[in-house]
């Protein structure tokens, strides 16, 4: 299809490509961190764990943010059938984000911090990120002409855009002594903002996957249906009020915990619906499984189920007392960020990157399928090894006279070995997926440079001209 042969490296696509690069970097940092679990004190001189952990976590968090941005920008143009309100703003946004992230990663490597968990960089670097995000919001709002009769995914995008900005700023309230003068106050507001922030980027990603699924199935009824909105509002309700489950053991207001416990249980409705719809999900999956993008959606569906089940259990305070502070939390976080966020974003990456250039070769697709299988199998083992390590640590925490910390860590070593091996396999699987995708993009870019714009570009159907 000549019309699809769009090689122009548009800014929206560059967001996705930069995100994939961050994912690759994040995987390598993750492996280094897992290695430090196995060989205590390794790399202590240059890249000790306080540098590796933020390098890993920030790389993967920025993968999610870059990927989600690329997804929303691309699908917004496909949805409206028009270019963005101001393509220049997106270019500025990308430059700001790329510049900030590179500065952040370099500062971590040099051991320069100043922030808190997840945003360990110096707080001054939060300013360009917030500013870039505001440009994103302006561009989005001006590109959507009206708020009336919009499908659910547009609601989700707007929600995600505003809540990310709000929670990001809220997570910096600690710079005022009033908010940080007691650890309880500080951590209450910190986890209020973090809990909702995860909900915010999930809105961007779920909204984009919704759009993609409708595109694949060719049926756009569901995004206007009442049930879609009921699920959206359930998600929003949780985004706003369920964050207290991160701080059940913090001596903060008890009502924060009660509200969060009660609100978290409304997620049972979501999980119930997943079970209810199981059969139709499986039959749709069979129909579309040949689509690379769809495969990732199917995998994410399974992980949504597993993660949600674990999350609901952990939202019961009496269960959380055991799991809190153990690797079960890490299993939950990584299970969600890999199994759900990364898989959905990869589905979207295949949709927006792969269809717009030369198709992947048979050989590439064969390797890609192997990568897909490897990632899924190893992620399951990875997840179980973390839960197992967490269960042992939970038992240790509950002992009357516990062993010393270092002996407990030694006891967990077999699980950390499995964690490292399955993590390496998972990273390999991801590289098998990323390699053809990125190589293809590089080839596209090369073609574009050689042929220069104008030729193929003009023949594109309107909805494919994305900036």
């Amino acid at each position: 299809m000549a019309a699809l042969n769009n090689n122009k490296p548009t800014t929206s696509r560059l967001f996705m490509i930069a995100g994939l690069g961050l994912l690759a970097a994040g995987l390598l940092f993750g492996l280094t961190g897992a290695w430090q679990y196995l060989v205590p004190g390794s790399l202590k001189e240059y890249l000790s764990f306080e540098r590796i952990r933020p390098l890993h976590v920030s790389s993967v968090v920025f993968w999610i943010i870059f990927g989600a941005t690329g997804a929303v920008l691309t699908y917004l143009q496909q949805y409206t059938g028009k270019k963005l309100y101001c393509p220049l703003l997106v270019k500025i946004q990308l430059s700001i984000f790329a510049g900030s992230v590179i500065t952040i990663l370099i500062s971590y490597t040099a051991g320069i911090f100043g922030g808190r968990e997840y945003w360990e960089f110096h707080p001054a670097l939060a300013i360009p990120i917030a500013a870039g995000w505001i440009l994103f919001i302006i561009n989005f709002i001006r590109s959507i002409s009206s708020f009336r009769k919009q499908p659910v995914y547009v609601w989700m995008w707007i929600t995600g855009l505003f809540f990310f900005l709000f929670t990001f700023i809220e997570s910096y309230l600690w710079i005022f002594p009033y908010f940080r003068n007691s650890v309880v106050n500080d951590m209450t507001i910190q986890w209020k903002s973090y809990g909702s922030m995860v909900g915010a980027w999930n809105m961007l990603i779920y909204g984009s996957s919704f759009f993609l699924m409708e595109k694949i199935s060719g049926n756009n009824k569901y995004s206007h249906a009442p049930i879609a909105f009921i699920l959206y509002f359930t998600g929003l309700f949780n985004l706003m009020f369920n964050w207290g489950h991160h701080i059940y053991t913090l001596p903060t207001y008890p009502f924060i915990k009660h509200i969060s416990y009660a609100v978290s249980m409304t997620e049972l409705f979501i999980i119930g619906r997943i079970i209810w719809q199981w059969r139709s999900t499986v039959s749709t999956a069979r129909k579309h499984f040949h689509h690379t993008a769809y495969r990732f959606i199917v995998a994410a569906d399974i992980w949504i189920f597993l993660t949600l089940a674990l999350a609901i259990a952990m939202s019961i305070p009496a269960v959380n007392v055991y799991t809190h502070g153990t690797h079960i939390t890490v299993a939950h976080t990584m299970g969600a960020t890999i199994g759900i966020n990364s898989f959905l974003l990869l589905a979207i990456a295949f949709d927006i990157l792969h269809d717009t250039c030369t198709p992947l070769s048979e050989k590439n697709i064969k390797w890609l399928k192997r990568g897909y299988a490897t990632v899924n199998i190893s992620l399951l083992i990875f997840w179980i090894s973390l839960i197992a390590a967490g269960v042992l640590k939970a038992r240790w925490q509950m002992q009357e006279t516990p062993l010393p910390f270092s002996s407990m860590m030694l006891m967990l070593k077999p699980y950390f070995i499995v964690f490292f091996i399955s993590g390496s396999a998972m990273a390999t699987g991801f590289f098998l997926i990323l390699y053809p995708l990125l190589k293809n993009q590089a080839a596209c870019y090369f073609k574009y440079l050689v042929n220069k714009p104008g030729t193929g570009q003009d023949r594109l159907p309107v909805q494919l001209i994305v900036e």
């Binding site: 764990f49 009336r148 009921i230």
Partner: protein, 136 residues
């Protein structure tokens, strides 16, 4: 299903949710859970030092943080300040020696002391209720 079929229903629900969320947020900002009588300068500088060296990457406070090292919420009362300072001066096989100044060490110790005074994080100190809630 009639409910949620029109924009009007959706706008009503979102307005209610947003009002509740903004109200809840403003209430929490205005009435933070702990009222602090007098600012503790040393502990506050200690918090900044804690962030500057990213101690949280390996340590947890109230169970939150990285997991390579132990939770430090109550290390002050369990181990005492001399013990803490010995660790801070020398590091361990895993924990780097950050070459902290005397000032940074006293500030960090004051910070850990203030955390310790705020409550107990040990899961053994909680009672579990049949409805799934917990008490300390």
């Amino acid at each position: 299903m009639f409910f949620m079929k029109t924009d009007r229903h959706r706008f009503v629900v979102i307005s209610l949710l947003l009002t509740a969320f903004i109200g809840y947020s403003l209430f929490l900002y205005a009435a933070l859970p702990v009222q602090v009588a007098a600012a503790n300068k040393e502990a506050d500088s200690g918090k900044m030092v804690w962030q500057q060296y990213n101690c949280n990457a390996c340590h947890q406070v109230y169970g939150l943080g990285g997991y390579l090292g132990p939770d430090l919420t109550n290390v002050y009362s369990v181990r005492g300040s001399a013990y803490i300072q010995a660790f801070l001066k020398n590091g361990t096989t895993i924990m780097p020696n950050f070459q902290l100044t005397g000032r940074e060490i006293t500030d960090l110790t004051a910070f850990l002391e203030s955390i310790d005074a705020s409550g107990k994080s040990d899961p053994k100190t909680f009672t579990l209720n049949y409805d799934g809630s917990i008490e300390q």
